[in-house]
Symmetry: D2
Subunit: 355 residues, 4 copies
Amino acid sequence: MIIHMSRTAAAEDQARIYDKITAAGFQYEVIHGATGINVIGILGDLSRVPESYFRELAGVDKVVRISKAYKLVSREYSAKSKVIDLGGGVSVGAKELAFMAGPCSLESVEQMMTIGAYVSSMGIKIIRGGAYKPRTSPYSFQGMGLEGLKLLAEVRKKFGLKIVTEATGLHHHIDEAGNKEQRNVLENVIDYADIIQIGARNMKSYGFLQELGILTKDCKKPILLKRGDSSTLKDFLLAAEYIVANGNPNVILCLRGIRTFEEEKFQRYTPDIGAITVLKRESNLPVIFDPSHAVGYRASVPGAALAAVAAGADGLLIETHNDPPNAMCDGEQSVTEEQLRDIKRKADVIWNLFW
Amino acid sequence: MIIHMSRTAAAEDQARIYDKITAAGFQYEVIHGATGINVIGILGDLSRVPESYFRELAGVDKVVRISKAYKLVSREYSAKSKVIDLGGGVSVGAKELAFMAGPCSLESVEQMMTIGAYVSSMGIKIIRGGAYKPRTSPYSFQGMGLEGLKLLAEVRKKFGLKIVTEATGLHHHIDEAGNKEQRNVLENVIDYADIIQIGARNMKSYGFLQELGILTKDCKKPILLKRGDSSTLKDFLLAAEYIVANGNPNVILCLRGIRTFEEEKFQRYTPDIGAITVLKRESNLPVIFDPSHAVGYRASVPGAALAAVAAGADGLLIETHNDPPNAMCDGEQSVTEEQLRDIKRKADVIWNLFW
Amino acid sequence: MIIHMSRTAAAEDQARIYDKITAAGFQYEVIHGATGINVIGILGDLSRVPESYFRELAGVDKVVRISKAYKLVSREYSAKSKVIDLGGGVSVGAKELAFMAGPCSLESVEQMMTIGAYVSSMGIKIIRGGAYKPRTSPYSFQGMGLEGLKLLAEVRKKFGLKIVTEATGLHHHIDEAGNKEQRNVLENVIDYADIIQIGARNMKSYGFLQELGILTKDCKKPILLKRGDSSTLKDFLLAAEYIVANGNPNVILCLRGIRTFEEEKFQRYTPDIGAITVLKRESNLPVIFDPSHAVGYRASVPGAALAAVAAGADGLLIETHNDPPNAMCDGEQSVTEEQLRDIKRKADVIWNLFW
Amino acid sequence: MIIHMSRTAAAEDQARIYDKITAAGFQYEVIHGATGINVIGILGDLSRVPESYFRELAGVDKVVRISKAYKLVSREYSAKSKVIDLGGGVSVGAKELAFMAGPCSLESVEQMMTIGAYVSSMGIKIIRGGAYKPRTSPYSFQGMGLEGLKLLAEVRKKFGLKIVTEATGLHHHIDEAGNKEQRNVLENVIDYADIIQIGARNMKSYGFLQELGILTKDCKKPILLKRGDSSTLKDFLLAAEYIVANGNPNVILCLRGIRTFEEEKFQRYTPDIGAITVLKRESNLPVIFDPSHAVGYRASVPGAALAAVAAGADGLLIETHNDPPNAMCDGEQSVTEEQLRDIKRKADVIWNLFW
């Protein structure tokens, strides 16, 4: 940790800081700047000492941490890129583009059989679909619950697909009629999913992330963690660190779009394509991209999807629906079968440029 | 709901929309614009119909909702400003400025007795203090837990203060040594607090808000809901609506600062003082302001606190500490006893300008 | 223009609005909403009437403009994509990816001859280079001025390249020694450039844009207009409209990255890749992308460049330098010759996916 | 300047940096961190060396500047708060709240005489009014031009008021009919104004700021510089530095509201009240606040105005109009005479709390 003193700091200000450093069990070195500004370097493992411990002392201008706030998920800690093996020859972060597609929300057996069939016919190996839906409005459809998870299991069996589905922070699912499921939502999802998705709105629910890490410590099922729509990349990596530090190292980072100043709703969020390169450099975890939630309108999804692959993403998570205008959720951002096939074909060409 | 057609929409596009409207059981009226753009007004209660139901149809340029997305918390629904009565002559939203102060985190009996004494000596009637701490880093201090709640109860008794304390989304508190509390965090806080605080990071944990509404449906203990650091005001009001719609009408809105583009950390967040006027107009709920989390540095707290009162806030929530440099949490944004006394005196003068 | 009345509007509020509409020479139609909210549609050409003309009247909740604020640059006005012909078989917006590369700042004859040689050897036909540099700090290098423009002309002649260079809002260039050029900066650049670049910082200098439109009314030399780092897309299109409305229809839109909430400087700006699709749909002008100013660090430039092409950009504007560590300006975001060659090769493959 | 090396930097990386430092004529000191990260402090006057000079070298993680980028306007350079004396007992930054009010745009003699009368009757000593209007749309009213300046001079004489009016980046004003003024806009404004206002859109037009500094080097007429709606505070202070470094030390900083992520237009911008405290601490220049452009709607202006005074602003700049619904510009954010009187009375009470 480095302390920048202000130009007007007094000698006794500096002495007081030396005392506080040594009292806390650390050593220090000082650089006496030519323009009258001194810099104090504190030596030792300061991972549990907050910057604020020094920042408020008289004479201090700035305190800068040298080490990264995140550790286990950093490329500095482990340079090798992590590969998540899902079994059956399917993996994320390896030499094949990880392509995940499916509807926003599970609606019916018929819907899922139709989508499962066309998705698997394109060579896509992972299907998505939400059984529990966290909604901004308390008046919106909240999902099929446990029944939906069972439907996903059937689809997995029938088409040989892996499944990714979301767990929410709610303890017990309550349906439209007010009936409450007996079993905890998180435990249900852990049982059924091949990849457990954590939504953007829960990325900062640290208690929930801690619990998730602990509950999956033994099974180590992969967690697909989505970036909060206004989270910094540092906070995103710290959220991943929460899961890893609590016992489950298998985290997939999923970008999706951030909230910016744009007023006209030309697109729902600003797709954070640039963050792909940053995360691949800062972290050893696989990075995938969700173009559907990033742009929000079907016509913009292909462009964002291909851009993400060109920027170096390890995979895509795309919403598709057999009948978008009548989807119960996110219909306008779901691509059709035909669009999905075209994205898959072009994405494979771009992906191959890098191998 | 109003549909703006694009200038190039065909007659059959429009016909298809009419069909979809009537099929859904609604009626419509059309304005034929002079510049070739038509506008279709849909009549009926559309509160459960999303804009996306129409937006993706051919020929549609924009869909605009006329009614507010939030209802129970809106001033349109009930013009009268809500007063939250805490008993013993203390209330929020009434003719007295609601002044809440105390440390970020509960640390020890001695600390709380000292702070309780000086806070109550200034005529402040509500003390704050966190027993459960949601932290950005998994490596930071996580709070005293249930023991802290019991300490708060003692302070309440000794000084005749009301207490406000935070409930987190974690099911069961785990201390530094790894010991897990038997009882659910939320239920513990509901039992002990006079006002249950919900932190900014949980403002979008809709499952948690739903559970909170249901669990406090009978006791109706007031909920102090903090705005997420990047939530729009519409999403903030929808989060309050989640609690009210699930059974507890006693919600206090608390503003605190939003994340903006500022790079240098001159202040931690941008205090959203302007939102006070907006929320007082849009909603009937009381609106208070937390200057400590807004600006993040002690020297900037008094200015933000007084600005909030001048802008029409119903109250303040301020962090204070008897020994800020050695506080376990948020020391650099905690004001001293002397600063608190000065803020209180000036805030009262400003408050009286409006009565 | 559509007026949404508030639910609580009185009949006389509505009558007063009708009067104001007819007094201004327009007609209106009314939709009487089922939930008690009325909507008034105003008929006629309202392009010179601001929303505020009605918004502040009693009973009004919202005023929504139906027509686009920009006109001449919109795809609605002219569906055909504009092709900018630079002569000699070079164009922007046509079937070839428009690739522009060169240093941030002109430094010396040797530098430009080296860069000109390798750029043209790759099949790149447009070279960039700044003679006038607008700098955030008054203490930074301000450019070679007119001497630089003459150097560009030599490079053009020697390698058969087209040149793009920036005009600033300064009337007369002043060099480090305080000497002032006789001739207006803008007029100099118009004389020498094949494409006149307008920087992001001047995108909202409307007086300057107006003057630019008037001065290039006859020559109609193409203008490359960069998006302001915090401008909405609507404001960006209005800035283009300023130039077109004042006489020069040949505008190229250039995206480059926007300022967002990210704190750590992992990248200089957030590359607004998603805006490419939006602008191609909203406007008929060509859209190119500048990855160098978007991300700010050399290692991130290739990813952003390829992502832009995959998202549908008509071209790229990239900074390259023969000796980046010793560049006088933007060295850390300038790619090397080798990187440039690799970007060009991959970009061509991706571009061909769409034809 | 401080260089943070990465944990994985090699010894030869460090040696190469030492060489580059000494080659540039500077000295250095090194702190060898306990966790394997070294820190190099460079000694000397580095005000003309950009961070990028070192940042791109192998082994470098981060480069941090110790000295402020702005100098002459900083409180570090001169601790004493600057007072701007306008003559006739009127000043900004002194013991009286500087209150400036008037219409957005000059419209007619009658309008200005009415407003001049009520403004001066309240004890307000500075009137505002725009003769040249920079507008987002090329189709909006562009101002009265020179005729407006002459009208302002009459108002000044008749009511004994000082005048503040805006200079734009346009060289020569062009009216609706296409007639062009002979004389440069900036020179006209310098002649007539007591305070020369520079609008938010021109805050980054560095050429214009440089010219302004040079042209007012002798007269030293005060410049009221508005913050760009998306400028960081550092860039705002650097813009002020441009003017001061070119010869005119009399700059008044004016805050007004920033662009944030808020979607619903509850307020036009987010009033940056918190920046008042920051600027008063970082800089020695007076800081005033413009609530009208911050919030954009008349009903929200009083709250923002009083909040700014409570936060420590040295003055206010408010739009008022004798007939807001028929104002040619910004009518909906202009307060009435009655509102202005009420703001003035309350602002004076709050101001007196600090003296």
